[in-house]
Chain length 196, copies 2
């Protein structure tokens, strides 16, 4: 380690850097593989100093997962300047790109490798709630009223998109364009069933 | 314990009884709560004797989950004597009834409380694969060809049904009839998007 790397940083800035590093490391690892030892090695600082920023491994994992969830929500933010269908397609494309870039960490989160921890489960549930609320906020664009059935369908569409993209990434039998098209078409098709 | 209860049973029959008891106990418990101590107490036999039937807690859990998954597949078996839509609705109704009756254990399984164990994850994945294959086997009835896009949509519909039913059971803002109707209508609506 060079002296240049050992520059003293503001603790908030340092914690933020470590968190960002944790999120990057999680992209290609499961939570179990994201140990304090590995973070310490990658960050080039001692375990002791790490515990100055994160009380323990659990707190570090929670902070990393919270940040990863916030990133996902931010990157898939719909662009209100676009018409409903292109808006949905662009948001979906960002979601697919996110899952491709963060596959291992994301599959571990969604499939619940971390779910022994109630605080982590809470983060996943809140993320799904936030995404469901966002979809319902855009539903008027698809001519759907905000009813309990529509909310259930919006939540179901999210679970469907998650499952389909996770199955597609390692085994892409259709093009990304077709994947985008069927997932985007699925939302208005599902919403239309609530009128019946 | 009475002498009458201590009748010597064929080991296969006894193991089967314990397994069935485990499945019943799981209905209202998470896997973590399904301990060998509790099974021993409920079955009225010693821990030592239990380990004669199941090598350890992990093997017991795997056997119980495997059996619960087999029960789910069996109870939701489509009735080929029915037309496509009533066939789908009846199968779905059996699924909803199963989730209502086994809510705590089922949510723990699906949401992955047990997923630290790769063998358990394997059982969930195989169950989902089996259900997806069964849907694709019935797709012709809905006028859909068996294509990669259709398989992805069938898998996605399953994930959707799972999520929607799990969200509905504790918080039923719509009637069971409406739930059934929107989930059943969702499958052909989704499949239709694969033609586009």
């Amino acid at each position: 380690m060079t002296a240049a790397k050992r520059v003293r940083l503001d603790p908030e800035v340092r914690r933020e850097q470590l968190l960002q590093l944790g999120v990057e490391m999680l992209a290609t690892r499961t939570l179990d593989e994201l140990s304090i030892d590995l973070l310490s090695e990658e960050a080039g600082i001692s375990r002791g100093l790490l515990f100055h920023y994160f009380k323990n491994k659990q707190e570090f994992h929670r902070a990393v997962v919270q940040r990863a969830a916030a990133n996902l929500i931010e990157r898939t933010e719909p662009d209100r300047a676009l018409d409903p269908m292109p808006r949905l397609m662009l948001s979906l494309e960002h979601y697919i790109d996110y899952v491709i870039a963060n596959y291992r960490g994301y599959i571990a989160l969604v499939r619940g490798a971390a779910s022994g921890d109630a605080a982590l489960r809470e983060i996943f549930d809140q993320t799904r709630d936030a995404l469901t609320l966002r979809i319902t906020a855009h539903l008027a664009a698809f001519g759907a009223r905000d009813t309990p059935a529509v909310r259930l369908l919006a939540r179901g569409w999210l679970a469907m998109a998650e499952e389909v993209v996770l199955a597609w990434v390692p085994d892409p039998h259709i093009s990304k364009e077709e994947l985008l098209r069927i997932l985007a078409a699925a939302l208005p098709a599902l919403l239309a069933t609530s009128h019946g």
